[in-house]
C-alpha cells in the first residue's frame, strides 16, 4: 500500500508538472457547462435537476479520458523509464494501481470542480440532492472505467496517439454496447447468451441507471469489476511485453 501511495504521488505530481492536468480540467469544465446550458437546455427545461448536465458526461469522457490515460504507460515505454520503474522493488500491481489512481484523481478533481452548477440548481429550485450525489458517483465510476481501459491500451503501445485512438474506440464500443450499432455486430451469429452479455456491458445503461438516483448494487459491482478486470489486463500486458 505504501508503494502504491508513493507511485500515486509521483504520477499525480507529473500530471500537474505538465499542462496536461490543467488543460484537461479547464476543457472539461468549459464543455460540461456549455453542453448542459446550450445543448441540454438547462434553463429551458425549468426542472430542478442536473440531468442535462450528466447526460453529456459519457460523450465528454469518450474523447477527454483517452487523452488523460494515453500517457500512463506509453510514455514510460517511449522514454525508457519503464525499465527503471519495473526494476525498482515495486510489484507491477502496485505500479499499475498507483498510476491509475493518480489519473482517476485528476478526473475526479475535474468533476468536483463542477460544483457551481450544483449550487446553481440549489439556488434556483429544490432538487433531489441525493439523486445528484448518486449521479456524481456514477460519473466518477464511469470515468474510472474509461481510465482502466485506457491504462491497458496505453501499456500495449509506446505511441501515445495510438493509445488515444485505441482507447477512444474501445470506450465507444463499451458505451454503445446494447445499442443497435454495437449489438448488430453480434446478433445473428452469436448465441443469445453472448448477445445478452455484450448488452449488459453497456456503460450508458449502467450510468443512466445510477444518474437517475437509483444506486443499484449491480451497477456499482459492474463498474468496480470492469475497472479491476482492465487493470489486471494492464498487469498482464506489461508482463508480456515489458521490454518491447
Amino acid at each position: 500500500m505504501r508503494n502504491v501511495a508513493i507511485i500515486f504521488r509521483r504520477e499525480l505530481a507529473s500530471y500537474f508538472a505538465t499542462p496536461l492536468a490543467l488543460v484537461f480540467i479547464v476543457i472539461f469544465l468549459v464543455l460540461a457547462g456549455a453542453f448542459a446550458f446550450y445543448l441540454g437546455g438547462f434553463y429551458e427545461r425549468s426542472q430542478a435537476d442536473l440531468a442535462p448536465f450528466f447526460n453529456f458526461h459519457p460523450w465528454l469522457y469518450l474523447f477527454l479520458i483517452p487523452a488523460l490515460a494515453m500517457r500512463l504507460w506509453a510514455e514510460e515505454r517511449k522514454s525508457g523509464s519503464i525499465e527503471l520503474l519495473m526494476t525498482l522493488p515495486v510489484t507491477p500491481w502496485q505500479a499499475v494501481l498507483g498510476k491509475f489512481l493518480a489519473a482517476w484523481c485528476v478526473a475526479g478533481l475535474a468533476l468536483a470542480l463542477t460544483f457551481p452548477i450544483w449550487i446553481t440548481v440549489n439556488y434556483l429550485g429544490e432538487p433531489d440532492n441525493g439523486a445528484i450525489l448518486a449521479a456524481y458517483l456514477g460519473s466518477v465510476l464511469m470515468a474510472g472505467g474509461f481510465l482502466a481501459i485506457g491504462s491497458c491500451l496505453s501499456a500495449a503501445t509506446r505511441n501515445q496517439v495510438v493509445a488515444f485512438i485505441l482507447t477512444a474506440v474501445v470506450c465507444f464500443a463499451f458505451l454503445l454496447a446494447g445499442f443497435p450499432l454495437v449489438q448488430s455486430l453480434v446478433t445473428g451469429w452469436a448465441p443469445q447468451a453472448l448477445v445478452d452479455a455484450v448488452a449488459s456491458l453497456s456503460f450508458l445503461t449502467h450510468f443512466s441507471a445510477i444518474s437517475k438516483g437509483v444506486i443499484d448494487l449491480r451497477d456499482l459491482v459492474f463498474f468496480a469489476s470492469l475497472i479491476a478486470a482492465w487493470l489486471a489486463a494492464t498487469v498482464i500486458v506489461l508482463d508480456m511485453k515489458k521490454a518491447d
Binding site: 507511485i7 509521483r10 507529473s14 522514454s79 523509464s81 525499465e83 527503471l84 519495473m86 526494476t87 525498482l88
Partner: protein, 315 residues
C-alpha cells in the same frame, strides 16, 4: 554473490543471449565487454529482472530473480542503458521518489540523499527539471539513483557512454570508490575502461561468452604481450636486424614497425627483453630506445569477437 547459470534469451528466431554462465563475488568489478548487439544489455535486463529469461536462472544475493524478484531487486542498483528518468521531474523530487520507493526514511534518507548528491556533484542542479539537463548530468542522476540505497550489487549499463573525458574520469573514480565489498557489473565497449576500473573482464559476442579473465590475463593473450620494440640510430639495415632477432630462441617474429624501428614478438611464455639487450650490445647497434610492449586489449578483443587470429586485422 551474483550467480548466472545457463542464461538464454531468444527473440523470435534471434538468440540474443546464448547459454551464458558466470558468477561474481563481492569486491569484484566485472567488465562486460562486447561489440554492439552482443547481448550485453539483454543480459543486464535479465539480471535486474526486467526481462524474463527464455531459460536459465539468475540469483542475486541468494534470491532468484524470477521467483523472488522483489527481494532480488532490493539488492540491486541499476543504471539502465541511456540513463532514463522522468523528464518532467526535478532532480530533487526524482531522487526523493527513488528514496521513498527504496524504503529509506528519517535521518538515513537524508544522509543517503546528501551523500549521493555530494558524490555526484548534483548540488547545483537539484531544482532543475531532468529534461533540461545535459547528457553528463543526466547520466550522473542515473548513477545517483542506482547507488542511493547503497546496494550490494550494482549493474551499470554503459555508465560512461557519451560523457566527455573529465566526466568519464569522475565516473570511474566513483565506481572505484564504491566498489569495496560490492559486486559491480559494468557493460562497455570502451576497452580503456576495463583497464581503468575492472578486476575481471568477460567478453561476449553473438550472445555467447567467449572469454572470462582478468584484464592482465586478456592482455597476455595478445601477440604484443612481451614484445620489444627497438628504435635504432644511425645508418642501419633493418632487414639484417630482423634476421638477427629471428635468430634468438625467444623471438617468434620480427616486423618493421617504423622507418627505424623493429618489433620483436615473443614466443609464448618467454621474455625476450634480456636476450635482445645482449644481442644489441654484441652487434654494436646504436639504440635510441628499447621499449618493452604490453599486451593490447583492443587487439585481443578484435580477435576474440571476430574469430580472426591475432594481428590479422592489423595491417
Amino acid at each position: 554473490m551474483l550467480e548466472i547459470s545457463r542464461l538464454t534469451r531468444r527473440f523470435g528466431a534471434l538468440t540474443a543471449v546464448d547459454d551464458i554462465s558466470f558468477s561474481v563475488a563481492p569486491g569484484e568489478v566485472l567488465g562486460f565487454l562486447g561489440p554492439n548487439g552482443a547481448g550485453k544489455s539483454t543480459t543486464m535486463k535479465m539480471i535486474t529482472g526486467f526481462l524474463a529469461p527464455t531459460s536459465g536462472s539468475v540469483r542475486v544475493c541468494g534470491h532468484d530473480v524470477e521467483t523472488d524478484g522483489l527481494a532480488a531487486r532490493r539488492c540491486i542498483g541499476y543504471l539502465p542503458e541511456g540513463a532514463p528518468g522522468y523528464a518532467e521531474m526535478t532532480v530533487r523530487t526524482f531522487l526523493e521518489f527513488i528514496a521513498d520507493v527504496r524504503g529509506l526514511a528519517g535521518t538515513e534518507r537524508r544522509t543517503r540523499l546528501d551523500d549521493v548528491i555530494a558524490r555526484l556533484g548534483l548540488g547545483g542542479v537539484l531544482p532543475q527539471v531532468i529534461e533540461t539537463l545535459s547528457k553528463g548530468f543526466r547520466r550522473r542522476v542515473g548513477l545517483a539513483q542506482a547507488i542511493l540505497h547503497d546496494p550490494p550489487v550494482l549493474i551499470l549499463d554503459e555508465p560512461t557512454d557519451g560523457l566527455d573525458p573529465n566526466q568519464k574520469h569522475e565516473v570511474r573514480r566513483l565506481i572505484r570508490d564504491v566498489s569495496k565489498d560490492k559486486i559491480i557489473v559494468i557493460s562497455t565497449h570502451i576497452l580503456e575502461e576495463v583497464d581503468a576500473v575492472c578486476t575481471r573482464a568477460i567478453i561476449v559476442a553473438g550472445g555467447r561468452l567467449l572469454a572470462d579473465d582478468t584484464p592482465r590475463g586478456l592482455e597476455a593473450r595478445s601477440r604484443w604481450h612481451g614484445a620489444v620494440t627497438l628504435s635504432l640510430d644511425g645508418p642501419v639495415v633493418l632487414d639484417t636486424v630482423r634476421a638477427r632477432l629471428l635468430g634468438l630462441a625467444e623471438v617468434a617474429a620480427a616486423e618493421t614497425t617504423g622507418p627505424k624501428s623493429v618489433t620483436a614478438f615473443a614466443r609464448a611464455g618467454t621474455a625476450p627483453l634480456p636476450a635482445i639487450g645482449a644481442l644489441a650490445a654484441r652487434e654494436g647497434w646504436k639504440l635510441a630506445e628499447l621499449r618493452p610492449e604490453s599486451g593490447r586489449l583492443d587487439e585481443v578483443f578484435r580477435s576474440i569477437t571476430t574469430g580472426r587470429p591475432m594481428g590479422a586485422s592489423d595491417a
